[in-house]
């Protein structure tokens, strides 16, 4: 193998470049692939197979390459790529890899791939003659055209017009419904999201090998790779070659090689001549030929160029469900059926390939040396073994042998395997086709697919108007949906447990303030707003007085708890309902679904106002003093301003809505102010409350405080299989008020079973023992596995107020189990706990008025 003095339409001989492969420096030209440059430098093998470690060399000239894998380190990083797709550039540093990447090569930082979106009338995949013709026709018609070609050299003869974009070194990874195509443009590291009215697959045909003994030796190549070496890269791929072909294109390659000065012997399978064995060590040395008349020759050769026929390249077509038909004359699968109206194939992809003899493998020789999947080191013997074990489908053979599952996806050998299976089973050629193809058509890195949407851009981050204060105070944050919520506010490097305990005690003993701005808030407006809410919540909202607040549970049609919150009646025809932080979008969607699809006669409109309001919850026995100290014109005495009502007024000099709701059991005021006043009011409360012992608290303390009161968190204590009755919340279900969503399901046989899991509190016998959330509960700790499971822990905390640990749990027949002992068998020992009613702190509710 050597570079010819002239020739090579793809290379630019005026600018030699240097590259390093496996530590040795070589020369090549721009326009080379790494593979052609290695050939041009006399490197024949240089690669190893992944499983058996056999010597291997470049076999193809494209992404179908099964042997020649490299890691690229300079000037870009690619952990694994076929050398046949790596464009040669000056300073390229690469190393061979046995078909498997070494993750130790992974750089800490990956360049960010851009994602771009493009709409065109016509997308052409493939820049060969058929593709360029199709693109030209479309452009002439006035279409916006995108032409993508996987090769790294410019596509010739494309119309240069403003509306025609040509991407080279770009692969269509997948064609999806309605003309949506994802393209990976490699050098720029760009992912293109293309929506095309028409997609034309001009993806050409892939040459296939023949399974014959020794066919994996370096120097055994596809005829197209040998011809391209001469034509594209000006490289002589061997001095003495045998060309073994079943078709005219393969025979034509012999002509190209002969003209370039290779000594050629042609073996034409159509005349009954066969190559039966290739022999050699680190490269092919001689080739044994059996002629149709039985004559047997052993020919010295350093190159065996094989053409076993041509498969239309239909990876993209098949991934979309496009049909295939076996063409006897061409011995290949061609597109069959119409497919979607917007998708078509042209040229070789459409079946314009030469007739071919049906030669898939040669009978003579050891089946264990006839490779059908070089990257998986699988042979005809392995296929036979799978069939001997009773498998019949090529899909099963694939899964038993892993044939076709390597990086090259069996692109060269897939049809060969299918036909060997057909032959071994005594079936006609084409009885079974190649295995299914799925996107991506060629490997692509996750980094490319992720593009810029990682790190901070992975998902939107929502912060409250008070967020900067929390940051400054060194809050630890908890992700709740997309929201960043203060979890706890550590003092002097305090660990979480201590911070949460301190914040809990502040609320119980003096006061705490929590940023509750993330609560979902929806305004429900219109003459029928009350009637509508009656149908969405389990209790009645239509008779709520203006200025009053009512807690509500929302159920699914199946009767299971979906969300909870409070409704405030702002005016005759105006309610504000709150939702859980993470349930806000879901609740608004449900409201709109019912209004639009079931009850369009209801005159109601819904608006999300979550972001419009900042909310500060001031909780604790001194909450009233704190709000008074911050300055308010609202009479806060319990007589003038009772529990579950709200008042509009002024707090800290700005308009505020004060709501007497409590999620801690303490006296509490929830202050709703315009978002832009949130930070001001928060700071005013903090300043005014400091002398009163007010402290900020986060969701950590909030969780403990509410659990001490037995208040559930939907989505933590419930999991979509829990009814209001299971939670002991029958008091909020008003079946007499008329129908509401989920009502009928509450009397289904399954929802009234007495042995359903029901909400209880658990008090571990050891008051220091903390039950892990999610722990399974059993009634008897027999030690025999499996034990019948009776429930699970949903929330578990250390309670500073109770001076002990406690938990909430869903326990079978739990309502009737109070006082009984249950067990949580855990790897580190069993925890015994006594069942109790869920309200452990201030069960009389004596503290809510301060």
């Amino acid at each position: 193998m050597r570079r010819l003095p002239t020739g090579g339409t793809w290379i630019d001989r005026s600018r030699p470049v240097r590259f390093t492969f496996d530590g040795t420096t070589h020369e090549g030209f721009p326009g080379d692939t790494l593979a052609s440059a290695l050939w041009g430098s006399g490197v024949v093998g240089g690669f190893r197979s992944p499983i058996l470690g056999r010597p291997r060399g470049v076999m193809t000239d494209g992404p179908e390459e099964p042997n020649a894998f490299v890691a690229v380190f300079e000037p870009w990083v690619d952990l694994i790529a076929p050398a046949t797709t790596v464009p040669l550039v000056d300073g390229l540093v690469a190393a061979s890899r046995p078909g498997v990447a070494d993750l130790a090569d992974a750089p800490a930082e990956r360049p960010v791939a851009r994602h771009v979106h493009r709409h065109v009338e016509t997308l052409v995949v493939g820049g060969g003659h058929a593709g360029v013709t199709a693109a030209t026709e479309a452009a002439t018609r006035g279409d916006r055209v995108l032409l993508v070609d996987e090769h790294h050299v410019p596509v010739e003869d494309t119309p240069s017009r403003q509306d025609v974009t040509v991407l080279v070194d770009a692969t269509a990874l997948g064609v999806y419904d309605d003309g949506y195509v994802v393209v990976h443009e490699r050098p720029a590291g760009r992912i293109w999201h293309v929506r095309a009215a028409r997609v034309i697959l001009a993806t050409g045909a892939l040459e296939r090998p023949v399974a014959l003994a020794g066919n994996d030796l370096p120097g055994v190549v596809l005829s197209s790779a040998a011809a391209h070496a001469v034509e594209r890269y000006g490289v002589l791929p061997g001095e003495r070659a045998v060309v073994f072909a079943t078709n005219d294109w393969g025979i034509a390659a012999a002509g190209v090689l002969g003209e370039a000065g290779v000594e050629i012997t042609t073996v034409d399978a159509r005349q009954g001549d066969l190559v039966v064995t290739a022999r050699g060590g680190d490269r092919v040395r001689d080739v044994e030929v059996v002629r149709s008349d039985g004559r047997r020759d052993v020919l010295e050769a350093d190159l065996l160029a094989v053409s076993g026929g041509w498969n239309p390249n239909l990876t993209l077509w098949r991934a979309l469900g496009g049909g295939l038909r076996y063409d006897d004359e061409r011995a290949c699968f061609v597109p069959d059926g119409d497919g979607p109206a917007w998708l078509s194939t042209v040229g070789a992809a459409a079946g314009a390939v030469p007739p071919s003899a049906s030669v898939w493998s040669v009978e003579e020789g050891d089946d264990a040396e006839k490779y059908v999947d070089l990257q998986r080191d699988q042979t005809v013997a392995d296929v036979r073994g799978a069939l001997d074990r009773g498998l019949r489908s090529v899909e099963h053979v694939k899964r038993a042998t892993y044939i076709g599952t390597a990086i090259d996806q069996g692109r060269t050998g897939g049809v060969v395997v299918a036909e060997i299976v057909n032959a071994l089973l005594g079936d006609a050629p084409g009885a079974q086709g190649p295995t299914n193809a799925r996107p991506p058509a060629v490997p692509v890195t996750y980094a490319a697919l992720a593009g810029p949407f990682r790190g901070d851009l992975l998902d939107p981050v929502r912060t409250t108007p008070i967020h900067d204060w929390h940051l400054e105070r060194g809050a630890a944050f908890e992700d709740v949906g997309q929201w960043k919520r203060p979890w706890f506010f550590p003092r002097d490097g305090e660990p979480m447990e201590e911070a949460v305990a301190r914040e809990c005690l502040a609320v119980r003993n003096s006061g705490g303030a929590m940023d509750a701005s993330t609560l979902g808030k929806i305004e429900v407006v219109g003459p029928d707003a009350g009637a509508f809410l009656d149908r969405m919540y389990t209790n009645r909202m239509s008779n709520l007085a203006i200025g009053a607040i009512r807690y509500g549970l929302m159920l699914g049609l199946d009767g299971m708890v979906l969300d909870d919150g409070v409704a405030m009646r702002l005016a005759e025809a105006r309610y504000l309902v709150t939702t859980t932080t993470s349930g806000a979008a879901m609740v608004l969607d449900r409201f709109e679904e019912w209004l639009q699809t079931e009850w369009p006669e209801l005159r109601v409109s819904c608006t999300s106002v979550t972001e419009q309001w900042a909310v500060v919850a001031v909780n604790g026995p001194r909450a009233r003093e704190v709000v008074v100290a911050a300055g308010t014109d609202v009479d806060l005495t319990p007589e003038a301003f009772p529990f579950m009502t709200f008042r509009d007024g002024i707090v800290a000099g700005v308009p505020a809505r004060l709501a007497r709701v409590s999620f801690s059991g303490e006296l509490a005021y929830e202050l709703h102010v315009a978002g832009w006043h949130g930070l001001h009011v928060w700071e005013a409360l903090m300043a005014a409350g400091a002398p009163l012992g007010l402290e900020p608290y986060g969701t950590g303390a909030m969780h403990v405080l509410r659990a001490e009161k037995g208040y559930v968190i939907v989505g933590q204590d419930t999991d979509g299989t829990v009814t209001p009755h299971d939670l002991g919340m029958d008091w909020i279900v008003n079946p007499g008020k008329g129908d509401f969503v989920g009502r009928r399901s509450l009397t289904r046989a399954d929802t009234i079973r007495p042995d359903r899991k029901q909400l209880v509190a658990l008090l571990p016998d050891d008051p220091e023992a903390l039950l892990p959330e999610g722990a399974q509960l059993v009634i008897e700790d027999t030690g025999a596995i499996p034990m019948p499971m009776a429930g699970h822990v949903t929330s578990s905390y250390r309670s500073p107020a109770l001076g002990r640990t406690f938990a909430l749990a869903m326990l079978e027949s739990g309502h009737g189990m109070h006082g009984r002992t249950v067990f949580a068998p855990l790897p580190e020992g069993t925890i015994a706990a006594t069942v109790a009613g869920p309200v452990l702190y201030d069960p009389e509710g004596a503290r809510r008025d301060g």
Partner: protein, 90 residues
């Protein structure tokens, strides 16, 4: 990714929509009169045809309006979209 013809906004990417299951499954006028079996039938049982299927879509990240569609479960192609409370176009 499907290109969904929202009757109000025109063709938009599937990612903007939420699927709403079978269309024309009306909420029963009086659920109390239904047996458990009839209620379960309404709650859980849906058609699963091979071929045309009338289904609901919600343009969540667009106009936020629900509509019905007739779509093939074989080709995924939309034949028609139409407003709620109207019959599918023949």
């Amino acid at each position: 990714m499907l290109l969904i013809p929202c009757p109000w906004c025109g063709p938009r990417d599937e990612i903007e929509f939420r699927y709403g299951g079978q269309a024309h499954v009306d909420y029963p006028a009086d659920p109390d009169t239904l047996t458990d079996e009839e209620w379960a039938d309404y709650l859980f049982m849906r058609d699963n045809p091979k071929g045309e299927f009338a289904e609901r879509w919600f343009h969540t990240a667009g106009c936020r309006r629900w509509f019905n569609a007739v779509r093939s479960t074989v080709t995924y192609g939309f034949r028609a979209t139409y407003p709620p409370f109207t019959e599918p176009p023949s």
